[in-house]
C-alpha cells in the first residue's frame, strides 16, 4: 500500500478526534471532514450517526434541513466541523467579508450555521487545509462565530481544536487561546510559527501527527472513497483517481 497522502493523514487525524461521538455533522464544502466523519462512522460499528450536508445517503434526519440545528439546540449533536475564511487566535471565525461589509475586499459565501452551531455543539473542530497568514489572522474582519463568549451568555458548545494542513492546535476555552498539539510530517515548530498570523502556546518539543494505520488507509481508500463519490464527486475523483472504476461500478 502506498504511503498516506497529506489529505489521508488529515482524514485520519480528524476521525480520531470524533471517536466515541454518537452524532456528528459536517457542513458545506468540507470534503476532508466528510471523509473523516465517514471513517469514524465506519469504525463505530453502526453507533455513530453522521450527517453530511448535501448528501442524500448520509442524511439521518426526517424533519428537513432544520433538524441539524434543532438537534443541536436539544444538545443531541456532539461534534461539528467548521471551516473559516479567516480564523484568529481567539478562535473567532469569519465566513463573510474581509474589509467593509458593504464594500468588501473579499467576500466569502456566508456564515452558514456557524453563528449558531459554534454555541450549541460541545465539540466543534475547526478545519482549514490552507495554513497561511492570510487565513490564520491576528483578528478576523467579521465575526461569523466567536471563539469564546463572556460569562452569562448561554453557550453549551464551542471550539475544541483547529486542524490545518500543517498542524493541529488544541483550544483552551477558559484562556481563549490555541496551543500547538502536533505538527504534520514535513513541518517544524518554526515553519508553523512562520505561517501563523496569531500567537499561540507551544510545548518545548512538539510531536508529529500520527499517520493513519494500514487498516485506516484500507478503509479510506475502499469504503470511504466510494461513499465520498456521492456527495463530493469532484474531490473523490481527484483524491482517489484509481478508484473511479470501482466507484462507478457500485
Amino acid at each position: 500500500m502506498t504511503k498516506a497522502s497529506p489529505r489521508e493523514l488529515l482524514i485520519a487525524a480528524l476521525a480520531r478526534r470524533i471517536k466515541g461521538c454518537r452524532h456528528v455533522a459536517v457542513g458545506n464544502a468540507s470534503p476532508i471532514p466528510a471523509a473523516a466523519a465517514l471513517l469514524a462512522r465506519a469504525q463505530s460499528n453502526g453507533a455513530m450517526i453522521v450527517y453530511i450536508l448535501g448528501s442524500r445517503a448520509h442524511n439521518p434526519y426526517g424533519d428537513g434541513a432544520r433538524e441539524l440545528f434543532d438537534s443541536a439546540g436539544q444538545g443531541r449533536l456532539d461534534a461539528f466541523f467548521l471551516g473559516g475564511g479567516e480564523i484568529d487566535g481567539q478562535a473567532n471565525v469569519n465566513l463573510v467579508t474581509v474589509g467593509e461589509h458593504d464594500r468588501p475586499q473579499m467576500r466569502f459565501p456566508g456564515s452558514f450555521g456557524s453563528a449558531y452551531l459554534y454555541f450549541t455543539v460541545p465539540k466543534v473542530i475547526l478545519f482549514r487545509e490552507e495554513h497561511s497568514r492570510r487565513v490564520l489572522v491576528p483578528r478576523v474582519s467579521f465575526v461569523s462565530a466567536p471563539g469564546t463568549s463572556p460569562p452569562g451568555v448561554h453557550r453549551t458548545g464551542g471550539p475544541s481544536a483547529l486542524v490545518t494542513g500543517r498542524c493541529i492546535f488544541s483550544f483552551d476555552r477558559a484562556r481563549g487561546r490555541f496551543a500547538l498539539e502536533t505538527i504534520h510530517p514535513g513541518q517544524t515548530a518554526l515553519s508553523v510559527r512562520a505561517e501563523t498570523g496569531f500567537d499561540y502556546d507551544a510545548p518545548p518539543q512538539v510531536s508529529v501527527t500520527e499517520a493513519p494505520g494500514a487498516g485506516e488507509l484500507r478503509l479510506i481508500r475502499g469504503r470511504i472513497s466510494n461513499e465520498m463519490a456521492e456527495a463530493y464527486p469532484v474531490f473523490a475523483r481527484r483524491e482517489w483517481p484509481s478508484h473511479d472504476a470501482q466507484a462507478a461500478g457500485r
Partner: protein, 270 residues
C-alpha cells in the same frame, strides 16, 4: 383541481419586486422555471435563500434581477465561489442581508405560526447579529437576570418557488423529507411549484404518500418541468451535471463569460 400553467404563465405570477423564497441546492431548485424567469426579465427581486443557494441565486444576480438577498451562504459548492454573487458584493449594487441557517428556519417558522418573531440561541457577539438592525436582543423572561437571547422577526415571502418530484391533480405536492419546503410554503403568501410529473392517484389518500406531502391548501399553481432542477441534481432521480456546473463556474468568472453563458442557456431552454 389545481391550476396547471405553462412555465411562462407560472413565472408571470412572480411580480417584479417580489420577496422570493428559494431552497438550497439539495432541496429541489426550480431551475427550469428560473430560466423562464430570466427570459422574462424580472426586476428588483428580493431573494430569501432557505437557507442557502447556489446556481439559481448566482444567475438571477448575474442577470441584474436581484436588489437584495437574505442568505446564509451562496456557493457553487465543489465548483467554488458563486462568481456573480461575489462580483455583485464588491460592486455595492446588491444589498446583502447576511444571516445564519437556523435563523432562516426560525424566521419562516415564526411566519408559519403566525407569530411576529421567534427566539434563537447563539448569535450573541457575532457580527451577523450586529449587522441586523431588524433583530432584537432581549432578556429571557424565563431565565436568570441577564440571560440575553436574540429575537428574529417572521420571514414572510411573497412567493415560494421550488421543484418537486410529483403532484396530484388536486395540487398536493410530494416533497418527501424536504420539510423545509413545507415551512417555506406555509410562510409564503403563495407557492409555485414545478414537478417532474403529475400522478393520477390522490397523494393524500394513503398515509404512505401523505407523510411526504405539502397539501394543496398552500399550492397556488403547478407546472410540469421534466428534469426541472437541471443542471443541479434532484433527489434520487438524477445527479448533478458536474460538467455543466463546471462550465458555468468557469464562464461566470467574467461579465462577458456570464452573458454568453446566459444567452446560450436561455436559447437552448426556449
Amino acid at each position: 383541481m389545481i391550476e396547471r400553467l405553462d412555465l411562462d404563465a407560472l413565472v408571470a405570477r412572480i411580480p417584479d419586486g417580489a420577496r422570493l423564497a428559494i431552497p438550497a441546492d439539495y432541496a429541489g431548485v426550480a431551475m427550469e422555471a428560473t430560466r423562464a424567469l430570466l427570459r422574462r426579465g424580472a426586476r428588483n427581486l428580493r431573494l430569501v435563500t432557505v437557507p442557502t443557494s447556489g446556481l439559481q441565486a448566482d444567475m438571477l444576480i448575474g442577470a441584474g434581477m436581484v436588489v437584495e438577498i437574505e442568505t446564509s451562504g451562496v456557493t457553487l459548492n465543489e465548483h467554488g465561489l458563486a462568481p456573480r454573487f461575489t462580483a455583485a458584493t464588491k460592486s455595492g449594487r446588491l444589498r446583502i442581508v447576511d444571516t445564519t441557517c437556523p435563523a432562516v428556519h426560525a424566521g419562516l417558522q415564526a411566519a408559519e405560526k403566525g407569530v411576529p418573531f421567534m427566539p434563537l440561541r447563539g448569535l450573541l457577539g457575532t457580527d451577523v447579529l450586529a449587522q441586523r438592525k431588524d433583530w432584537r436582543v432581549t432578556d429571557n423572561p424565563f431565565g436568570e437576570r441577564g440571560d440575553a437571547i436574540a429575537l428574529l422577526p417572521a420571514i414572510k415571502p411573497d412567493i415560494a418557488l421550488f421543484h418537486a418530484a410529483r403532484a396530484d391533480r388536486h395540487g398536493n405536492v410530494w416533497i418527501g423529507r424536504r420539510r423545509e419546503l413545507a415551512a417555506m410554503a406555509h410562510a409564503s403568501a403563495a407557492t409555485l411549484v414545478t414537478v417532474e410529473e403529475i400522478v393520477e392517484i390522490d397523494l393524500m389518500a394513503s398515509d404512505q404518500t401523505a407523510a411526504g406531502v405539502l397539501p394543496r391548501l398552500y399550492v397556488g399553481a403547478v407546472t410540469v418541468a421534466n428534469r426541472g432542477a437541471w443542471p443541479l441534481g434532484f433527489i434520487d432521480l438524477y445527479p448533478a451535471d458536474d460538467r455543466e456546473l463546471a462550465r458555468y463556474a468557469a464562464a461566470a468568472r467574467t461579465d462577458r463569460g456570464f452573458a454568453e453563458y446566459l444567452e446560450g442557456a436561455l436559447r437552448r431552454a426556449a
